[in-house]
Amino acid sequence: MTLGTRAGLTMGKATRDAFGRALQEIGASNPKVVVVDGDVANSTRAEWFGKDNPERFFNVGIAESNLIGVAAGLAASGKIPVAASFAAFLLCNSYDQIRMSVAFPKLNVKLVGSHAGISIGEDGPSQMGIEDVSLACSLPGMVVMVPADEHSTRKATQQMIEHDGPTYLRVGRGDVPLIYDENVDFQIGKANILRDGNDVTLVANGLMVSAALDAAEELAAEGITARVLDMHTVKPIDEAALRAAAVDTKGIVVAEEHLHHGGLGSVVASTIAQTNPCKIAFVDVGDQFAKSGDGDALLEEFGLTGANIAAKARKIVQG
């Protein structure tokens, strides 16, 4: 992982690992929490909960539609089910089940999608969840979170369990840089300001928070000060933070490891367009599927880099 080096970040664990550990901790104290798995618990790390609580762990098999329905039934009977699989399979294979069995009846199901983004690398496009945020955000009432590092993922996992209603938590496979220490202040729907600045605002989530911090460092060397927002919650979006960014700085660059349409970029743009239209640029996977290959090399090839964010920010500042 080269992201975060320019910003001087140190490496931490993968967000899926942090999710798995947090879920294991929660499982020990909250007997209402159950896990429904689709034969990938070793990958999602839900197996750590499963080993401690075999009676509350249900592997329904490679059957994501059924996975969602079983979770919905458990929620309707009062449990707090965590339905975990790869982001791609969970959201895409069982979207109608999420729509009808979970979102429409507002059931308290916790969706967790791992292996999100193109940085998973060699396994290739079939395994890369890059449309998950868009799909999840489309559904009324769904809370959508994309935490950046292990400490914020731990908090996100705790808050997802405490929140009453359907949620989607996106986590990644590979180790990622540390953005926070363990006392991170994390609240659903409230962006974290990681760095302040007056010239431009960089809004990012997940892995791209590290890239945004790299970009801010690069820009600072040229005398451009960038505000960096960790927009860990895509829905509900932090409108106040975005409005302030539009007022205080010359424009916004949004960076995410997701397709262009329907992700964080779309949500930021539609929010800002209503009250504080400003210049806005996007760093994302675009309107294309990725391919198989080394994860770092893919991020580079698809422009998911601090340098690309900095280039777009420069354009905004220079007008």
Partner: protein
């Protein structure tokens, strides 16, 4: 789960079945749309469940933790569910004729957030058995004794999710889950035989590990006995293939499957009601 299912008053159940059919016909005719024929094939099963002493419920306490659950997976048959819920006291009988209106909670397909007694929001076919399995698994976690009944259509079980759930349920060994397939012979655009072979259905459920029986789903005694036995069955999930007639009770509806999704026009309602008696 086991329980005591005393023999009901079958004359009363027969009378109730007639009145439920009249409700279904009247409310869908009034609404000008809806699925009366899909509802009418399910009448005897639902009457037996709710009024034959098979299901444990309390209309005044719809969320009672150890209630038996009924999930209408073939959600388009909502009229019969609403008629039953009105008879059971969950909703008012005079609400029935508000079916499908903008100000009515009785939506075209059941909405669990708006109608007490509705256990699942359905309408996208194939999803009910999975939800039923979730409820069934919960009973063990909470040490509760209840059954979950899921009714599906004979076309609906063409959905892959049904078989995902069937396979998982048998593997989990839940004996408080009962699947009922309303084998009324028709789906939306065709006889089921044109799409899948219903004569293989019982064997399919058996092959998936379900204790399975086939019954005449309009014979109240046979239906009641099968439901009671399935509820009491303690060695895994149980399935009932109920052979029924789509539109049962009104000959012009039984004869023409294109009535699927259509209410009886107001000028033919009297004729239909008269045949029900």
């Amino acid at each position: 789960m086991t329980g005591i299912h005393t023999a009901p008053d079958f004359d009363r159940l027969a009378e109730l079945s007639k009145s439920l059919r009249r409700d279904v016909l009247t409310m869908t005719s009034e609404a000008g749309s809806g699925h009366p024929t899909s509802s009418m094939s399910a009448v005897e099963v639902m009457a037996s469940l709710y009024f034959g002493g098979i299901m444990k419920y309390d209309a005044k306490n719809p969320k009672m933790p150890d209630r038996d659950r009924f999930i209408l997976s073939k959600g388009h048959a909502s009229p019969i569910l609403y008629a039953v819920l009105a008879e059971a006291g969950y909703i008012q009988k005079d609400q029935l004729n508000t079916l499908r209106r903008i100000d009515s909670p009785l939506e075209g397909h059941p909405n669990m957030l708006r109608v007490p007694g509705v256990e699942a929001s359905t309408g996208s076919l194939g999803q009910g058995l999975s939800m039923g399995l979730g409820h069934a698994l919960n009973a063990k976690l909470d040490n509760l004794d209840y059954n979950v009944f899921v009714m599906m259509g004979d076309g609906e079980i063409q959905e892959g999710q049904v078989w995902e759930a069937a396979m998982a349920a048998a593997n989990f060994g839940v004996s408080n889950l009962v699947a009922i397939v309303d084998l009324n012979g028709y789906q939306q655009t065709a006889p089921v035989t044109k799409v899948t072979d219903p004569s293989t259905y019982a064997d399919k459920w058996r092959a998936f590990g379900w204790h399975t029986v086939e019954i005449d789903g309009h014979d109240l005694k046979e239906t009641h006995a099968a439901l009671a036995a399935a509820a009491d069955y303690s060695n895994g999930p149980a399935a009932i293939i109920a052979h029924t007639k789509k539109g049962k009770g009104v000959s012009f509806l039984e004869e023409d499957f294109s009535w699927h999704g259509r209410g009886v026009p107001k000028d033919r309602l009297a004729e239909a009601l008269e045949e029900i008696g």
